[in-house]
């Protein structure tokens, strides 16, 4: 064990991800938490493209590629097959997808699989745009985030809509474990994956993974940016276990959101007013979550 994590790697070097990729860290440490008895299903996206350029693979566990819109259905099939073979308790099922796969295109398949209650752990590696095809806006892009399809022009300054609160939408399906995490705190993420795998039925983890290529910052800053996002309350870190929302790292004295925004090229067009808007947007959403925490069993009735 190094820093509380197992040394064994299930994801190998030589993959084609950009230098400083945050998503790789999420995949790498989820596999560590899951161990060698794992089947991984993955949606289309950066991680699929960089990890399996034919005829090579970076995966050391059985891995199936599915399309955006059907990979949770593939996972459902694997779950049913494992049950029929009587091996369900011995094998972990990890399902990876990016924000495009879970916030947008694969959402119906995810929703269906959650509703059917197939046991699998879904991990959404969120880099807030479609990075694989060259940075297009997604349901996860935050307000005013500049992408190639929501550019920062003279009149319209980046994306005009809010970010979908996906973990809450998933929790509303009545599943027993939903958590958010960030690559700035790997040990916390590792524990959450272990907890998710031990959950009865489906479980979901939303992990915040900065992308140097799409967000326009120096590749060395990936962990720093992820940490800032947590410290300024932009990315709240909580878990919803058996219907109760609980913050796992509550930020009592948040840094100003401007500090986080200024570090990234995708927000460099923001003026004072827009920065204030984002600050208000972040505060409102965080306060809403604090309210949910106070209710103790906010999602209880949906279980």
């Amino acid at each position: 064990m190094i820093a509380g994590l197992p040394e064994e790697e299930y994801f190998s070097s030589g993959h084609r991800a950009c230098a400083g990729c945050g998503e790789i860290l999420a995949v790498r440490h989820a596999l560590k938490a899951s161990g060698k008895n794992t089947i991984a299903v993955m949606a289309t996206g950066c991680m699929e493209v960089v990890s399996t350029p034919y005829p090579e693979s970076s995966w050391k566990v059985p891995w199936v590629h599915g399309a955006f819109e059907n990979h949770p259905a593939i996972a459902s099939g694997i779950d049913a097959a494992l049950k029929a073979l009587g091996k369900r308790d011995k094998i972990n099922l990890l399902v990876f997808g990016g924000d495009g796969a879970y916030f947008d295109i694969g959402f119906q398949a995810l929703s269906g699989a959650l509703e059917r209650g197939h046991k699998a752990t879904y991990i959404c590696t969120d880099d807030e745009a479609y990075m694989n095809t060259g940075v297009q806006r997604s349901g996860a892009t935050p307000p005013f985030g500049a992408t190639t399809t929501s550019p920062a022009g003279k009149k319209i300054h980046g994306k005009q809509q809010a970010k979908k609160p996906l973990p809450l939408i998933v929790a509303a399906h009545g599943i027993r474990y939903v958590a958010t995490a960030s690559v700035s705190n790997i040990q916390d993420y590792y524990k959450k994956v272990q907890k998710a795998l031990a959950t009865e039925g489906p479980s979901f983890i939303h992990v915040f993974t900065p992308c140097p290529t799409g967000w326009y910052y120096d590749s060395a800053d990936t962990i720093e940016i992820a940490r800032l996002a947590v410290e300024c309350r932009f990315q709240p870190i909580y878990e919803i276990e058996n219907g109760a929302l609980k913050f796992t790292s509550k930020i009592e004295n948040p840094k100003p959101v401007a500090e986080y925004l200024q570090k990234q090229g995708r927000f460099k067009h923001l003026g004072k007013e827009e920065t204030e808007f984002v600050q208000k947007y972040v505060d409102e959403r965080y306060n809403f979550l604090l309210e949910l925490e106070k209710q103790k069993k906010a999602f209880d009735v949906l279980l």
Partner: protein
């Protein structure tokens, strides 16, 4: 399963299955690097944070507890140097 040879000598299996786990290790990504990280072993406290935060699995633990960078795969992103709590990893422009 029947194997069929296609271009460049790759074996094409049914369903385009890749039957060699972790085979991307054939692709040495070290050539992508512009800046090279160097660990000052004398000052290193062996905490393993560089190992934990490396997206290329290019930092390996030696038997004596020290960490070494595998330059065959290191892309030179600089996360290790930035995250090192004792700042013993320096990034230097790599001469070709």
């Amino acid at each position: 399963m029947q194997n069929k040879k296609i271009n460049k000598g790759y074996k094409l299996l049914i369903g385009a299955v890749i039957d060699e786990p972790g085979s991307s290790e054939k692709n040495k990504t070290g050539s992508w690097r512009t800046f090279i990280p160097i660990i000052d072993q004398e000052k290193c406290i062996k905490c393993g944070i560089c190992w934990m935060d490396c997206p290329d699995m290019a930092i390996k633990k030696n038997a004596d507890g020290t960490f070494a960078i595998d330059y065959a795969f290191c892309k030179g992103c600089g996360i290790c140097a930035k995250q090192c709590p004792t700042k013993v990893i320096s990034m230097k422009l790599e001469g070709k």
